[in-house]
């Protein structure tokens, strides 16, 4: 069942087309990465989804309703859109107490979420004295306060140190294991790759790809590195099978267009000894960059 449905969503700011007929859905209980380079239209899309920005065309719904029509929005959707949404002169605890009143949750929940994001010790410090990473954690705490079914997080890893990013991944995995739906935006695929079930990629406000990670990696022509004393012969045999071999040394080949199984079988047929064969790890970032670069080329006039 789709809990988030974006249909032909378009937003124009004057002459700038920020989001261009974007359509995608997010299924219940999945973690979806929302990816695109800076300025791709991710934040504008999320703001339209949350009723903060009025679409020029199209619709964005949550559980079949527009956000503004949700009866208890904080219990349906928890969102963290920017790390500066808390008043700098207010303490983290008081910031959450205000949200607890609006969301009608007991104030004991404030302490729970502060502990969840490791901010208990800083709870009575003013937010203006927080580091960017601490503000990100506070935003996460705010989004989790009312135990929503859906989480929408805009670049939550921004400002987090490596330990913080590791912690965030763990938190997202934990949330996903509870059957909740998460839509998390990022401009770095590697940041979310370990957590997401599928990715929506956009650039220049347009949908570039909506696929699972497996489908995304399958797009990449994976290479196999082979070491053999008869590299020339193997390269010739591979060429006959429409695979490409690149010489990395006298005995080393980098082969694309054939799997390691196909290469092994071919070598056996020709009685070519293989000393070593290794499939190169797919670089998701390369796939992402290839996709967005291809989109750029189609957008740029010759």
């Amino acid at each position: 069942m789709s809990v988030i449905e974006v249909r032909e969503l378009t937003k124009r700011f004057g002459s700038v087309l920020a989001v261009d007929h974007l359509s995608f859905t997010v299924e219940q209980g999945t973690v979806v990465g929302f990816l695109g380079p800076n300025g791709a239209g991710k934040t504008t899309t999320l703001r339209m989804l949350l009723g903060l920005v009025e679409p020029t065309e199209g619709s964005a719904t949550i559980n079949g309703q527009s956000y503004r029509d949700l009866r208890a929005p904080l219990h349906v959707v928890g969102a963290a859109l920017e790390a500066s949404a808390a008043y700098p002169g207010r303490t983290a605890r008081n910031h959450l107490r205000v949200q607890a009143i609006v969301g009608e949750v007991p104030s004991s929940r404030v302490d729970e979420v502060l502990e969840l994001v490791n901010l208990t010790e800083a709870a009575d410090r003013r937010v203006g004295h927080f580091s960017l990473g601490m503000r990100q954690r506070l935003d996460l705490a705010t989004s989790l306060l009312c135990e929503p079914e859906i989480l929408i997080l805009d670049e939550p890893a921004n400002g987090l140190d490596p330990e913080g990013v590791h912690w965030l991944r763990g938190l997202l995995r934990d949330i996903a294991s509870q059957g909740k739906t998460v839509l998390v935006s990022s401009h770095i695929l590697a940041e979310v790759a370990q957590t997401v079930d599928s990715v929506v990629i956009l650039d220049h406000g347009r949908l570039i790809s909506h696929s699972t990670l497996a489908e995304l990696t399958a797009r990449d022509r994976q290479a196999v590195r082979v070491r053999t004393p008869r590299a020339q012969e193997l390269a010739a045999a591979l060429a006959a099978c429409n695979a490409t071999a690149e010489f990395l040394g006298a005995e080393q080949l980098r082969i694309t267009g054939a799997t390691s199984e196909q290469i092994g079988t071919l070598a056996a047929e020709h009685a070519i000894p293989i000393f070593e064969a290794a499939t190169e790890a797919t670089d998701l970032e390369d796939v992402f960059l290839q996709l967005t670069a291809a989109a750029d080329q189609t957008q740029t006039p010759p």
Binding site: L70, Y87, I101
Partner: protein, 263 residues
């Protein structure tokens, strides 16, 4: 709505700015009341002796600064959301934005009332202290003095509500706060000096008359102290005028800027 009002009250009470503004309002009221009391009865000052009702009320009704700062507080209640980008979170929690505006105007009025109370009590205290120090007869009845304090509470509350509505309309904190000071101190003074007949309808001047101030005593420019031929509107009419103005500005804001995109 009660929930939203509670949240807005907590927002206001958990930052330092309102306390700072209230302290400034109290200090300015004490300062100007003391200055007025010190020069009461001196030739050429236009302030009668403190033994007279006119002289004493000149001191006990020096609540204009508290009212002006109440309007500034009201503006901060609404514009602070845009200055610190917290409107994103506020409207996420309450997508029906008009409800947020109504809650903010109510809370601004309540906080403004406190400014009026503090200003009224301090001005009255200074006036009575000077009058009793001179062993002078207290020329104003307790009822009149309490009425002035009540008027200061009403005037400050209404100006704070108007400030909150104006803040919603303008969004920029700096522009709204500057507008309030320029309007109260310069524009009303000039307009009031040039066209004395419209003085009772000018919002800041009207609010000060609720607290018993004479028309023109709130201003600093050519209108200051000028008696003119027109008296203030009746209390109820002034109250209704200011309340209506706050409602009109709120409605205009709700239909225009409040509905705008939060980017």
């Amino acid at each position: 709505m009660i929930r939203l009002i509670r949240a807005e009250l907590l927002k206001l009470s958990t930052i330092r700015l309102p306390y700072g503004l209230l302290t400034i309002a109290a200090a300015l009221t004490a300062l100007f009341a003391t200055l007025e009391a010190s020069r009461a009865g001196s030739a050429g000052t236009g302030v009668a002796r403190l033994t007279t009702a006119s002289g004493l009320s000149t001191v006990t009704t020096v609540t204009g600064f508290a009212m002006l700062l109440a309007a500034v507080l009201g503006a901060i209640v609404t514009t602070g959301e845009f200055r610190h980008a917290s409107a994103t979170l506020t409207y996420q929690a309450t997508p029906r934005r008009t409800r947020v505006l109504v809650a903010k105007v109510i809370v601004a009025a309540a906080a403004g009332a406190l400014f009026g109370l503090v200003g009224g009590v301090i001005a009255t205290g200074v006036g009575l202290a000077f009058a009793s120090g001179d062993h002078a007869h207290i020329a104003l009845s307790t009822g009149t003095l309490l009425g002035h304090i009540g008027g200061a509470i009403c005037g400050a509350a209404l100006l704070a509500a108007l400030g909150a509505a104006l803040g919603s309309l303008v969004r920029s904190q700096l522009a709204t706060v500057i507008s309030i000071f320029v309007w109260g101190i310069v524009i009303e003074s000039l307009i009031g000096g040039l066209f004395t007949s419209i003085r009772p309808y000018l919002p800041y001047t009207a609010a000060t008359t609720l607290a018993g101030a004479k028309l023109g005593n709130a201003a600093f420019g050519p209108a200051h102290g000028e008696a003119g031929t027109v008296g203030p509107l009746p209390f109820i009419a002034t109250f209704a005028l200011l309340a209506a103005l706050a409602v009109v500005v709120s409605v205009v804001a709700a239909r225009t800027t409040v509905a705008r995109d939060i980017t």
